[in-house]
């Protein structure tokens, strides 16, 4: 657990609208390869803001984010897009599949964008990921026709397509019922155990957080408490 994949260095972020508010106030932490980390905290404590800063999508902050040892500060937009494509997989609270495409195509898109494999290979890999998540039979359905739980599993498959260094989740179970929440959590756990996949999940579900390896608790834009949960 020596290998640091993601590090936040003294991150400070303000919101300007409607008044200047400090949402992140000097956040420092790092994540090693294979970690399964959750960030918890009350609504408005800045945990989502932190995730978007770490995801490279939000560039309006002070401090630095290191992904695989490379600073993300002052990088150009196309470079950041490439980093997101290659090294980060996203799972959001609301499914966010592209309704214009089939399930398979949704999973394939980031892979096609990366252009590391041929279209045939990307397709085979996408099938593989869908099979791992037990939804291979949905592959040719239109994304709009899936249930909430199914959509979220497809989103996870899409996050995995480029074998990212880290998966980031923003309340991935926040919009699901109990049964589907557990199903999604089991998938995360399986990924962590079997593939040693690094994951950083923002959640306000204490049950979910309790089952991760490491819990970071935030309050008023700061980390107030960190606990290791070796039972996970």
């Amino acid at each position: 657990m020596e290998n640091t994949i993601l590090a936040a260095v003294n991150i400070v972020k303000y919101f300007y609208d409607p008044v200047k508010v400090k949402v992140l106030n000097g956040v420092n932490f790092s994540i090693h390869r294979g970690d399964f980390v959750s960030i918890v905290g009350k609504s408005g404590c800045g945990k989502s803001s932190l995730l978007y800063v770490l995801s490279t999508m939000d560039t309006d902050y002070e401090g630095d984010v290191l992904i695989d040892g490379i600073s993300m500060q002052q990088k150009k937009e196309p470079y950041l897009a490439k980093i997101r494509n290659e090294k980060i997989g996203f799972v959001f609270q609301f499914h966010y599949l592209l309704n214009e495409f089939t399930v398979l195509k949704n999973v394939m898109l980031p892979g096609l964008k990366l252009h590391k494999y041929s279209e045939k290979e990307v397709e085979a890999r996408a099938y593989d990921k869908l099979k791992t998540l037990g939804i291979a039979d949905l592959a040719l359905k239109n994304a709009a026709r899936l249930s909430g739980g199914e959509k979220q599993r497809v989103a996870i498959a899409r996050a995995l397509i480029n074998d990212p260094d880290i998966i980031m989740g923003d309340e991935p179970t926040g919009n699901l019922d109990k049964k589907n929440s557990e199903l999604v959590f089991d998938i995360f756990k399986q990924l962590s155990h079997e593939l040693n996949q690094t994951m950083l999940i923002v959640t306000h579900d204490p049950d979910f957080a309790a089952k991760t390896n490491r819990i970071i608790r935030m309050e008023d834009g700061k980390i107030v408490n960190e606990e290791k949960n070796l039972v996970g």
Binding site: M57, R84, L98, L109, P110, K113
Partner: protein, 419 residues
């Protein structure tokens, strides 16, 4: 950038919104259709009207003008060398209308690379005798083959055959209006009196109609030999040399140089008929302005629809960006959509524009002034089609550019958080 992927995404977005896309494309189609039809029709009319005069007018006419001599004897007298002579009641001198050395001049012109062809002519003033009435007229002695090749003489023959002038001795082709005055039919004999008093009888072998009534009332055509015989001149007698060039714009410059080299008067078509060019130019300008306006309106349609599409597809754009598509990729997707609309609308526009032109080309259009024209004229110039498709692509590209840029600037964080 992976173009195939970009096109693929654009395609899916288009398919999801195909109704709006179709409306936008129909806007472009309509614009291009009208553009093509309007320009083809206007240009066809222009060619027709210009053809009325320009086709039959030589680009350069060589002749000897009647005018006072430039050097009067007094200017040559040594004693008055440094004086300004004032001559009153100056008269035109007895200049021969014949072009000297016409044979060598014609041969030299024929070898000139800028000259398409040369047609020598003779003009003879005559009276047509119709009972007790004498009608003033002109007989143009022409080389039928050269006139037909260079000045479309054949097109204006409404009865008989132009080549009969060569085969039938002492034959004449009358202007239609002149023939009506003389009550002469093809095959009849008309009698003429020349300015020197000689009387000839000529056989009518055809009528021609130029479309200019005044012209048809006085003009008639005979072969060069017949005309020389009427005038009692030798077979070398030529009064006009009509020259057609490959490039009409060279006419003024060449006319000057021919006048100097051959010692004759030379008149170029621009000087003789300047008003026709102005008319054509203004008509073309108006048609282009209308056509381009139509396309710009179509462009605004595309702009609106793309803007709407971007508002609808905010989520899609955000997710594309979150999963690693850069702003320029998103921009490319929307530009591809815009250009696809332009290309599809443009090509269908070209096809229906061609169709509309064909339809117009088949609408009957009879006018006494234009004997050879039976339907509305259309100019099927490929240049119009080229301009049409280029312009449709440029307009759609510009119309797509602003929305595409807006899409590329969308901040995914705002969209994703906003849910």
């Amino acid at each position: 950038m992976n173009l195939k992927l970009i096109v693929n995404i654009a395609q899916s977005l288009l398919r999801a919104r195909w109704r709006q896309t179709l409306v936008a494309a129909v806007g472009v189609t309509f614009g291009i259709t009208m553009f093509i039809a309007l320009l083809s029709f206007m240009s066809g009319l222009n060619d027709l009207l210009d053809g009325l005069v320009v086709n039959r007018t030589p680009h350069i006419r060589l002749y000897n003008d009647i005018r006072p001599r430039q050097y009067q004897p007094v200017t040559l007298w040594p004693a008055y060398q440094n004086s300004y002579p004032v001559i009153s009641s100056l008269k035109s001198g007895n200049i021969r209308q014949e072009i000297y050395n016409s044979g060598p001049i014609i041969r030299a012109l024929q070898q000139n690379k800028q000259v398409m062809g040369v047609a020598p002519t003779i003009t003879a003033q005559v009276f047509f005798n119709d009972g007790t009435v004498d009608i003033n007229g002109v007989i143009n002695g022409i080389n039928v083959a050269a006139e037909t090749r260079l000045f479309h003489f054949d097109d204006y023959i409404v009865a008989g055959k132009a080549s009969n002038l060569n085969t039938v001795p002492n034959s004449i082709i009358l202007g239609k209006a002149l023939a009506e005055k003389l009550v002469a039919n093809v095959g009849d004999i008309v009698q003429i009196t020349t300015s020197t008093g000689a009387i000839f009888q000529l056989k009518v072998v055809g009528f021609f109609q130029s479309g200019l009534q005044d012209f048809d009332k006085a003009q008639s055509y005979a072969s060069i030999n017949t005309t020389q015989k009427i005038l009692g001149k030798s077979s070398l007698y030529i009064t006009d040399i009509r020259v057609k060039l490959y490039d009409i714009n060279q006419a003024p410059a060449l006319a000057k140089s021919f006048a100097r080299i051959y010692g004759v008067d030379a008149e170029d078509i621009q000087t003789a008929n300047s008003q026709f060019e102005t008319g054509s130019f203004v008509r073309s300008l108006i048609s282009y302005a209308v056509g381009i306006t139509l396309l710009i309106v179509a462009g605004f349609g595309i702009y609106n629809i793309l803007n709407m599409m971007i508002y609808e597809k905010m989520d899609t754009i955000a997710i594309l960006k979150a999963t690693g598509f850069a702003g320029r990729d998103v921009k490319a997707v929307f530009l591809v959509i815009a250009i696809a609309i332009g290309l599809f609308g443009g090509i269908t526009g070209l096809i229906s524009g061609f169709g509309l032109s064909v339809v117009i080309n088949h609408i009957p259009f009879h006018t006494a002034a234009l004997p050879t024209v039976k339907t509305y004229p259309i100019n099927y110039n490929p240049l119009f089609y080229f301009i049409g498709i280029s312009f449709s692509l440029i307009t759609t590209y510009l119309a797509g550019w602003l929305p595409a840029r807006k899409a590329s600037k969308i901040d995914p964080v705002i969209i994703i958080r906003g849910k």
